[in-house]
Amino acid sequence: MPMIGKPIDRTDGRLKVTGAARYAAEFRLPGVVHGVLVQSTIAAGSIAGFDLSEAEAMPGVLTIITPDNAGKLQHPEHVQQTVPGPLLQNKDILFNGQHIAVVIAGTLEQAEAAAAAVRVRYFNAEAATSMDALLSQAYPPKHFRNGARPPDSSRGDPDGTFNSGAVKLDLTYITPIEHHNAMEPHATLAAWNGDKLTVWTATQGISGAQATLAGQFGIDKSDVRIICPYLGGGFGSKGNTWPPATLAALAARTVKRPVKLVLSRAQMYTSNGYRPRTVQKIKLSSDIDGRLISVRHDGFSSMSQPALGEFSEPVALATEMLYACPDLAVTHRLVALNAPLPTYMRAPGEASGVFALESAMDEMAAALKMDPIKFRLQNYAETDPHENKPFASKALRACYEQGAQAFGWDKRSAEPRSMRDGNTLIGWGFATSTYPTNRQPAAVRVRMDRAGNVTVQSGTQDIGTGTYTVMTQVASDALGIPVQRIRFELGDSSLPPAPVSGGSQTVASVGPSVQAACAALIEKIKDMALSGGGWRGQSREALQIRDGLVVGADRRVPIGALVEKSGHPFIEVEVQTKPGEEKQRFSMHAFGAQFAEVRIDQDLGEIRVSRFVGAFDAGRVLNAKTASSQLIGGITYGIGMALLEETLVDGETGRVVNANVAEYLMPVNADIPDIQTIIVPNDDTTSNPLGAKGIGELPMVGVAAAIANAVYHATGVRVRKVPIRIEDILV
């Protein structure tokens, strides 16, 4: 019975529910002291000076690091996860809530109290806070997708053919700033031993953190060790190595003691990125039969000042490949504000871009008086229409069919406001989902000891999604050993390197390496069996490895016995796998179909999602339980995006007004209905040997559009922004 696919419990579940799993802030070191950040209260200008006398005199304060006395740091080039600032290297203020000092004291309470007593004088400059006012000054990103492709792309002549359509739409959609609000705060414990640095930090990428800190402190990568066994959620906010981690290490070097620096919830609104606000202009033109003639998707996303780096929300990439349309153009532009640097947030680009695209597709279907699914099928892309390549695999049609069937879509009455239950308007909405299948090189070490127990190691991360568990399952099948005898170790940069846990790529990158390393271990065991295990001279093919045994025609020997005989405490292999040329030959994506039912009080305007069905082509599923949790979680995240989440920034001061989870609304249990998830079986071994596509981001893509479309169906009011609020539909 293969373990892959089985809904086994998380191997780390017990540790987590009993509190035994240690998160970054929970590590203890003797002599540790505490750092607390001081952040600016203006958005633009510079620091005129500090008055530290009161703070320095407070109990327990060791020192206060400011730009006046901060040690100099270098900026490592070409490390993707490095953020250039704010690192107290100069006195410029580029956004409100910028780090300007670190107070270090004996206890957290002492450091917090003293941080509040730091007085700052500023030179004020005028802050750019309104994206809409600056739209005309938008500029193309310089490093779009880290330089992997240009920000603009087109096929055919969309502007020339636009007017030839029977139905033409020219629409603008807006998505707000959203914050990840992972449950675990950003936290770092940094300790120096001479010139060697050890850092326990909440990160989605230990390799990137290692390269960043080594570069910043001008030391060798091998002198930096990053440890992160557990992560309390990241959603992209812990992808980069943000300044607080560096500042903790800087503080530790300054006071020559281990320093722990944990962000407050409020500080997390200006310290570790956010999903930028987007303004998206979409032009669609269709013939009378619902065949798209021309598509334009021009995306603008809000940005920090360029000195802080660059991030561009790639809203229109899905638009390029989702529908077969001969003439299409997409562009991406940035609007620089006095704001912190934005970053990846669950399904960056797709979550916001597909909201716009799939809302517009619904508007077009309504204008054509065509069923929304039929309209999608009319434009179904059998091959990638932009890159002119076959899809590695695509089961979107099956997602539409199975999702529609489970939802009961055929019972939908087409007219808006045509379904109700007393005072309650009912709306059904639909949207497509898609997310690219990513993979990067990853290395894995597999070790078997004399007792036959296996340790599999990789410097990857478990961001809460279940990496420990599913990799154990992969190894179990590959070695023919029960999961109980396998231990997966991760989250330590001294382990073989693996990529950042972002872009839903961990399974597709690390999984094949686990398989390959286990296969290599088996060959090594066979080598041992054939050379010294008593099967000398027999054929390799005649030997089987299963249940921890080497099985030959005549007898069976525990593998552990072979290890023992070898005289070593264990045998091990290390293997790296990487993507091949499939990326050049194929277009690799996951797909899905999202169906929402909303119920809206027609007088009071309260919008509640009452039913949700998502059907996904997500490749091979490694664990039915963790997978369905990811799908439910992603849809929940999408419901938050559709109806609740929004960071409010004061227009005058550029300061976040709702930097707490009481006023930044996320769904609670009462907001989430029964969610039905369907996996359309479709092992995609073209994309990677494991056949997985990645499941972390896909389920949130399209949710906001499905809900917006359902709101339209319920009320007849088209809302072209999220979150959709009561006031948007009060008529």
């Binding site: 409020a266 009071l604 309260e606 004061d650 005058e652 300061r655 707490n660 609304l665 609670v668």
Partner: protein, 322 residues
């Protein structure tokens, strides 16, 4: 948080004496106060713990209800007499916060919870309520959640609580005990409009302790309706508390109040007047509810509360008169 001392008084008298010293605050459940102190919005040097006073009883005697100040929100909401005779109170409490907070939050602390205005709760902003005279950035800022009734040009912050709105339609008296003695203040006079002094929110004097809430008579025909973006665990965008006394098809007495819209719990006298003496038919209820937003002064992002308030009051009236 700034360091403070914790005083655990033996009795009410010593509690009041301790809290009368400058820079002091009572702490009950701590669910609001601790957030404010952690964020340096309030910086007391001494906390006077009310827990040792053990004033947490719920007395339902005949027609009257007396709530002691440390009675928990969850206990009051679930009390059989409250459920039977004062449904509006139970409903308002159950629509408040979350189960965990209701298990900690007390009657006294609930009445005195401070506004959720984001500018008030972040010392990085100016705010007339927190630092008198520093300005009110909410007036031209992010004010979707702010008040439309009772606002001044100094402050437009909403009184956030639900229970006090219900108490307004129950004609509750708040019993206050201070060094000079005991006094009773009708709930309608307890909270103050901001005017020129938004930092003064109630009639409570320094050191004065809430020692009881007295409700004179049952209100079986009563109801609390709360409208919000999130299905639970969110403050009201708009809420309505309604208590009607209907006899022989005529509304003998009507008490109506609104939450989420006023700088204090807002009694809707004009709605009450439009109901009293009439039969509770659809037209009467509608005409009365249409009066709900009289005098409203919306800001940039909260104008929708005018229509939402009328509809919320109407729905609540329909529910209780059905």
């Amino acid at each position: 948080m700034q360091a403070f001392t914790l005083t655990r008084p033996a009795d009410t008298k010593s509690a009041i004496a301790a809290a009368s010293r400058p820079d002091s605050a009572y702490i009950a459940g701590g669910t609001d106060l601790l957030q404010l102190t952690k964020d340096h919005v309030e910086t007391p040097r001494q906390l006077v713990d009310l827990e040792p006073l053990a004033l947490s009883r719920i007395h339902a005697t005949g027609a009257r209800l007396r709530l002691e100040p440390l009675a928990r929100m969850s206990d009051v909401a679930a009390h059989p007499a409250v459920l039977r005779d004062w449904p509006v109170l139970s409903q308002a409490l159950l629509a408040s916060a979350s189960p965990q907070i209701r298990n900690m939050g007390t009657m006294g602390g609930n009445l005195l919870q401070r506004t959720r205005c984001g500018y008030f709760r972040d010392t990085g902003f100016a705010c007339n309520k927190r630092v008198p005279g520093s300005g009110c950035p909410a007036i031209n800022g992010e004010n979707r959640m702010h008040a439309i009734l009772g606002v001044s040009d100094r402050c437009i912050a909403t009184y956030p609580g639900d229970m006090a709105v219900a108490l307004n339609v129950l004609d509750a008296d708040i019993e206050l005990t201070g060094q000079p003695g005991v006094r009773k203040v009708p709930i309608g006079d307890f909270h103050r409009e901001p005017g020129d002094t938004p930092h003064i929110e109630t009639v409570l004097q320094p050191g004065e302790l809430i020692t009881g809430i007295d409700i004179p008579s049952p209100a079986r025909r009563s109801h609390y309706l709360k409208v919000r973006d999130r299905a639970s665990f969110e403050f009201a965008l708009v809420s309505a508390a309604v208590a009607l006394d209907i006899e022989d098809g005529t509304i003998r007495a009507a008490r109506v109040a609104a939450g989420g819209v006023g700088t204090k719990p807002w009694r809707l006298a004009q709605v009450e007047a439009a109901l009293t003496g009439k039969s509770p038919d659809a037209a009467t209820l509608k005409a009365a509810a249409d009066q709900a937003a009289a005098g409203a002064k919306p800001a940039k992002s909260n104008g929708f509360k005018i229509v939402l308030l009328k509809r919320t009051v109407l729905r609540a009236l329909q529910t209780v008169s059905a």
